[in-house]
């Protein structure tokens, strides 16, 4: 049995043990330390980041995470490209450099995604009808979100999912007909999609309002990325509740990233994102990369054991604050002073200039 197989088996066992929401942070961190050592020995960019930090001789949990931009510039994987079974890519224009998350095995992704979605999205039902407001994996094969939602069909779906998004856009007539059908039959449905798709649907549905059967729910995820008008989280929740007749508690935001195999989901009262037990969430100072003091705002770092074949320690650019047993992810930090006339990194990477 190789070291990888041993670690994969232990991670799978931990996911199964914590799938119901239990926590064992001691076991998680012990396994994470071993995984990080394994990855440092096999993923050259990660090894260089650890070496540069000067913390390489210390506890692996103190090593810095890999910033998400690194996935745009170098391959981050413990295996050769020939062994990739799936490469998820960040969204972007054709000119932009897109981050790549190369996986040689989807079993850990599937185990983590299924277990936490069951706990956070479908704890009360075995199966229900799924309406998808996002491109299918066939349409967008390198989207990790599309992959995940496609996998929901065999895990949680009753029959085939209804593809409200197809051929590059929303089929509003199909959406309305399917929702009216749910109203008639009294069969609960789950609407799953991107935030901007829900905004487009809201803009396109006009005066139509729905009273979906009890047990219906909405999962919305992702930012707007200039694809629709921007809607604040609370406003989005109210908008979806009013449009579909679903209580605000049944509108659940998902936080996922191309560079992660696991996801976080939102809970209310108070509103915060909850991570599964095999994921460690830390808020760090953007300059020292060390954890901020309890209660303080910092940049979100996520250590995901399911990322066995790439790097588990991922450093995001998202600001977050701790709230009870979870975090709230804030928007991009506002500029306190004028930035000057130097062109912004994003503008260059996106090739925005005409």
């Amino acid at each position: 049995v190789s070291e990888r197989e041993l670690l994969a088996a232990e991670i799978t066992a931990l996911i199964e043990r914590l799938a119901g929401g239990a926590r064992d942070d001691t076991a998680r961190d012990a396994l994470l330390a071993r995984v990080l050592r394994y990855q440092r020995a096999r993923v050259a960019p990660y090894a260089r980041i650890v070496t540069h930090s000067g913390l390489g001789d210390g506890d692996p949990l103190s090593w810095p995470g890999v910033p998400t931009d690194v996935f745009r510039f170098v391959r981050v994987a413990s295996h050769d490209a020939a062994r990739d079974v799936r490469v998820f890519r960040t969204s972007g224009t054709t000119q932009a450099q897109r981050g790549e998350h190369a996986l040689r095995d989807l079993s850990l992704y599937d185990a983590g995604a299924r277990a936490w979605a069951k706990r956070m999205l479908f704890p009360d039902v075995e199966r229900m009808r799924l309406l998808v407001l996002a491109p299918s994996a066939a349409e967008l094969p390198d989207s990790s979100l599309s992959y995940m939602i496609d996998r929901f069909a065999p895990w949680f779906g009753k029959g085939a999912s209804v593809a409200i998004w197809h051929d590059g856009g929303l089929d509003l007539a199909l959406l309305e007909a399917t929702l009216r059908d749910a109203e008639r039959t009294g069969e609960a449905v789950a609407l799953l999609g991107t935030s901007f798709a829900f905004v487009h649907a809201d803009d396109g549905l006009g005066a139509a309002r729905f009273a979906l059967p009890a047990g219906s729910r909405v999962m919305q995820t992702g930012g707007f990325k200039g694809k629709s008008r921007e809607v604040a989280p609370d406003e989005m929740r109210s908008m979806l509740s009013a449009r579909y007749g679903v209580s605000e508690e049944q509108i659940i935001a998902e936080y996922g990233m191309t560079e992660l195999c696991s996801q976080l989901y939102e809970r209310m009262n108070p509103r915060r994102l909850l991570a599964p037990g095999w994921v460690r969430v830390t808020l760090v100072d953007p300059e020292t990369l060390q954890p901020v003091r309890p209660g303080e705002e910092g940049l979100v770092r996520i250590d995901d054991l399911a990322n066995l074949d790439t790097v588990s320690a991922i450093q995001t650019s998202d600001r977050g604050v701790p709230v009870e047993d979870g975090i709230v992810v804030l928007g991009r930090a506002p500029g306190a002073v004028p930035r000057g006339c130097s062109i912004a990194v994003d503008a260059v990477l996106a090739g925005e200039r005409a």
């Binding site: 170098v74 002073v337 130097s342 925005e352």
Partner: protein, 382 residues
């Protein structure tokens, strides 16, 4: 500033009523007034320095340096040489100051006055201290010149005021992002002239005949100036030769930045820039060699494709096999390059196709008054 003093229509009325007197002055009198005002602005008192430091985010020492080098270039002689043989046609200039480094207001506010053209500048309400200081300094130096200069402060969403400002202008100068320039262009009538100065970046080159130690000292000044937030600021420096030479230069540049940081400390860094800095440094560590402190960093990424810097004294060093491949080596950054700094034998003509402004290393951020930034004569559009 009272409401009436901030209304573009009232300001146009005021400066246009002063226009005949401005034009009646000789060019020597106007140049002397501007030079006198700039001499005062180059030696700000403590209160103005503190105000500008707070609004710009630059340290007080860097703010002082920026004012000295910017306004120090506005000598009477340099102004007269600049305007010699040129005749202004514009009847009024609107200067839209949007997203600039601290001293960017100097040229668009002062050069129209030199040419005898009244000017109304639009500053953002959170960053209008220097435009107001310029207007006051000109008034103090020569009331007739000062009367032809005004500043309106309002936010970018205030379309009514913007339209009123543009309506009074024969010529419009915009300093800001490409989006800001395009937004103003859409609002202009065909007869109005637009000079847009969009955002950009600088690139440094260390040629094979340059001494790397001297080059590192010079480029450290270019990187530190304005905390690398200017459109002339170098994001990347290419070192002609092999990887070892690039690495040696990167190490020396890091040491030089450490020395400059004692003299001209970095100012505050907004939260989003700190997150970008974290990402930029992570990529550098992952694919090259990173020398980093809290307040500055130098990466050496050898033959990797160039990438932009988040600014705030984070600069990339790359290997350049030969100057013959410089154009190709710029890659995705090529179309954003506004300044090229050169260490070594400077052949400005040879590099002119790569950037509108070519300077010696160490002088990228201190262009002479006559420099054709953006490829334009400083008085174009007037």
């Amino acid at each position: 500033v009272s409401s009436a003093e901030n209304e573009p229509l009232a300001l146009w009325s005021r400066v246009q009523s002063a226009a005949p007197a401005l034009r009646a002055l000789s060019v020597e009198e106007r140049a002397r007034a501007i030079a006198t005002a700039c001499a005062a602005l180059s030696r700000p008192d403590g209160a103005l320095l503190a105000l500008l430091s707070a609004s710009s985010g630059l340290s007080e020492a860097m703010t002082r340096w920026a004012l000295e080098t910017t306004f120090g270039a506005f000598s009477e002689r340099a102004l007269l040489e600049l305007v010699a043989g040129r005749q202004a046609r514009a009847t009024g200039v609107a200067a839209i100051l949007s997203g600039n480094v601290l001293s960017a207001a100097a040229r668009p506010m002062l050069l129209p006055l030199l040419a005898g053209v009244p000017v109304v500048a639009k500053a953002s309400s959170r960053d209008d201290a220097l435009p107001h200081a310029i207007a006051q300094a000109v008034s103090a130096a020569h009331p007739l010149v000062g009367a032809a200069c005004a500043v309106a402060s309002f936010g970018h969403e205030d379309d009514a005021r913007l339209d009123a400002l543009l309506a009074g202008a024969a010529s419009v100068q915009v300093l800001g992002s490409d989006e800001a320039v395009a937004a103003v262009r859409e609002r202009l009538a065909p007869a109005q002239t637009l000079i847009g100065r969009g955002h950009g970046l600088g690139i440094g080159v260390v040629l094979h005949d340059a001494a790397v130690a001297a080059a590192s000292e010079a480029f450290a000044r270019d990187v530190a100036a304005y905390d690398q937030r200017g459109c002339l600021s170098p994001h990347a420096i290419l070192v002609e030769g092999d990887d070892a030479r690039a690495e040696a230069f990167a190490r020396l540049l890091y040491e030089a930045l450490a020395r400059i940081a004692r003299e001209l400390p970095r100012g505050s860094v907004p939260g989003d820039a700190r997150a970008e800095q974290l990402q930029w440094r992570g990529v550098a560590a992952a694919r090259g060699v990173l020398h980093a402190s809290i307040t500055f960093a130098v990466s050496c990424e050898h033959g990797a494709p160039l990438r932009p810097s988040p600014g705030y004294r984070n600069v990339g060093v790359y290997t350049l096999q030969s100057r013959d491949v410089l154009s190709a080596r710029l890659g995705q950054l090529a179309r954003f390059v506004k300044a090229l700094g050169v260490a070594g034998q400077l052949d400005a003509q040879a590099f002119a196709a790569l950037a509108p402004y070519v300077a010696r290393a160490g002088a990228m951020q201190t262009p002479p008054l006559a420099a054709h930034l953006d490829g334009l004569h400083p008085l174009d559009g007037l």
